[in-house]
């Protein structure tokens, strides 16, 4: 090889290496400033995308450094967002429906999971309740202003009953089962993992009714009404969630293991709820319809003191999601 060829080869090599180094570090060269965001995460397997995102460092490549503030129930997460303790929160569509009636200043950025069997009706086998009509006059424990209350009202309505026809007792979600054990109530409507805990605790002494598909519960990312910076932060959180959801789809077993470790749950429980879950990012018309129908229902069944149904579109902010995956946004703009 003569000198000239050697030089040419060396120059070509240097250029190639330079291009590769630049390409690899391209993102870090243009890395925007990192925002520290706090997310109030509801301690339920429905928050799996968040736990997985944290475990696989999915937020590292985005513009946010994420801190989790774990809470019990979407309602608490909502409260933390509203009083400024958290930038974002995870919240069920039922909570969103109830809060929209109060015209709170919040928006929904994305729906990240759906479950068609999250809220369950639990009774004593001895009560022989085979149909909702048998609930008439019974003492029923619910968590006020959540999917629990909404679900019970639907169940009753199917048989022409209202919440007036039963005795409602309000409990915190983790205290429902104790009310049941203490015989303060005849039936209760918990969500997961409290339904599972109840079966573990009481085993044969309870009956879980098959109400699959009767209520679809979705979990959503919410924040205060977003300015430009908050939309940017939401975009980055959604980018991390996208990676997490791809990971869940491609490595379901590893994802389950992450949630088991994070929530100190048993593998048995995860296997119990997992088939009911659909992890998918989306912001579509069905979410609006779901919130709207629940809001209307809450007004009509007098679960709330508000009477006006607000424009649900006002509580949806698609700007962040449109930047990440416009194909998953199907709402009238």
């Amino acid at each position: 090889m003569d000198k000239k060829t050697l030089h040419l080869t060396a120059i070509t090599l240097v250029i190639c290496v330079g291009v590769i180094v630049f390409y690899v570090n391209y993102q870090s060269f243009w890395q925007p400033q990192k925002y520290l965001v706090t997310i109030a995460v509801s301690k339920t397997p429905l928050s799996t995308p968040f736990y997985v995102a944290k475990a696989i460092d999915a937020f590292d490549g985005t513009c946010v450094n994420v801190k989790f503030d774990e809470v019990i129930g979407g309602q608490k997460a909502f409260a933390k967002v509203m009083n400024g303790e958290a930038d974002f929160g995870t919240s069920s569509d039922s909570v969103i429906a109830f809060q929209s009636l109060a015209n709170k200043d919040f928006v929904t950025h994305v729906m990240f999971v759906q479950s068609d069997n999250d809220v369950k009706l639990i009774t004593r086998p001895s009560a022989q309740i085979n149909s909702a009509i048998r609930l008439k006059g019974k003492r029923i424990g619910v968590t006020k202003g959540t999917a629990s209350e909404y679900f019970l009202s639907i169940l009753l309505a199917l048989e022409g009953l209202t919440t007036e026809d039963v005795q409602l007792f309000h409990f915190k979600p983790d205290e429902l089962v104790h009310g049941f054990i203490d015989n303060k109530i005849d039936a209760f409507v918990p969500w997961e993992p409290f339904a599972f805990h109840s079966t573990k605790l009481l085993n044969k002494q309870i009956k879980i009714h098959d109400t699959k598909s009767l209520n679809i519960l979705s979990f959503n990312l919410i924040s205060l009404i977003a300015d430009k910076e908050l939309v940017e932060k939401a975009k980055c959180v959604i980018e991390g969630l996208t990676l997490a959801i791809d990971y869940i789809a491609s490595h379901p077993e590893k994802a389950k293991r992450i949630v088991i470790n994070e929530l100190k749950l048993s593998a048995e429980f995860i296997e119990w709820v997992w088939p009911d879950y659909i992890f998918k990012l989306g912001l579509n018309q069905s979410l609006i319809l779901s919130i709207k129908s629940q809001a209307i229902w809450a007004v009509e069944t007098k679960m709330t003191e508000h009477n006006d149904i607000p424009n649900i579109e006002n509580f949806i902010d698609s700007r962040a999601m449109l930047q990440v995956d416009p194909g998953a946004v199907n709402i009238p703009l």
Binding site: L158, I278, S286, L289, S290, S293, I296, G327, N330
Partner: protein
Amino acid sequence: MMNGSLSQRIYFFTLSCCVLFATILGSVIWSSQTVELAFARDSYAQQVDNQTNSLKQLVISDNIYSSSYSVSHWQSLQKKLTRLLKSSPKLTPSQQTVQNSIKSQNENLKRLFSQITKNKLKNASAAIKVHLKARLMMQLEAIRSDSLQLSSIAHTDIHNTIKHEAFFIIAVSGVSIVALLFGSFTLMHIVRKSLDEVKRAFKQNHSGHFQKIHLSHPSDEFDSIVKAFNGMNDKLSETTVSLAVMKKVVEERTHILEQLSNTDPLTKVANRRALFERASMEFSRAIRSKNKLTLLLLDCDFFKRINDEFGHLFGDELLIHICNICGQEIRDIDFLARYGGEEFIIILPNCDIKGGIETANRIQHSLACHCIAMKDKEICVTLSIGVCMLSEQHKDLEQLINDTDKAMYQAKENGRNRIEVLTPPNLH
């Protein structure tokens, strides 16, 4: 590679082109298949969308709570949708997630519809009926949204595949063009440079400098030419004499030949031809510059008798002896030549008659002093010398020589071993 043959390079070059072409062709085929599959997925998503819309239409137009409502129409459409969902094409992982969602939503749809139509909700209020109908619509809307997302993913895939393919083709073509240009320029450069080197070597050969070719870019093809050329050159340089050497040899030989043609072989003094050449030159010069010119004609006395007595070899020796004596006694500018037999002429440029007589005297005296030995016997010879100086009467050289000859004969007639001068009145 650098020392390989040019044909090897060309083969390599051609092979590389073929590989690049095959790569592009392969990628085009791959991308067209990917796009085709993406179109199939898109068309599947469209069908799901259409099917869902039909169901939606049904929910909007019919009163599902009416006692006369027949569920068969719904069920057939629902079955169609379920069948369609089972016949999905191969989906990407992200599409599979959406597909799972659609399937699950479809199951919910079935359950919800059967719940609603089980007993026509005979106990339920109007509100819950409206609410459940809204739920049904929501479920359908969820499926529709998902199918739109499927379609959108397919579109994105098509777009990305085409974009990547275009980028790949441009990149491969760009690299190919650079490689082809580099390769062809290198080849051209090597061929041109090697040809130049060979040409230069031929040129130098032509001018007699036998130099070997050293290729700056060795290649098998040119190496064979160079080897043949260098071999030929070696042989040529052994057998060929350069022009300069040849010139020198010729000059030397010419000089020797000239000397031979101008020299008397016996006495080694100038011969008659050289004499006339020199004499006419000196004659012309004397006439032109009006200088004096004197000739001496010397003849050995009784030479025939000596020859007869002592033999021709001795005669020859004697003549050489006379020449040696004369040579010693004349000036550098003087010229001694053998005129014929035992006769010699000495040309004395810039010399008058007096100088001529002096020279003649010196010669005679020296010859008298140096006798020649022959068989313990000393043999002394004498010379009769005629002297004549160029005068106005002499029109040419022959007249001057003739007059000198006359003077010599007078010396012979007057008793030999003497000097005679032809004075002007006696000149021809």
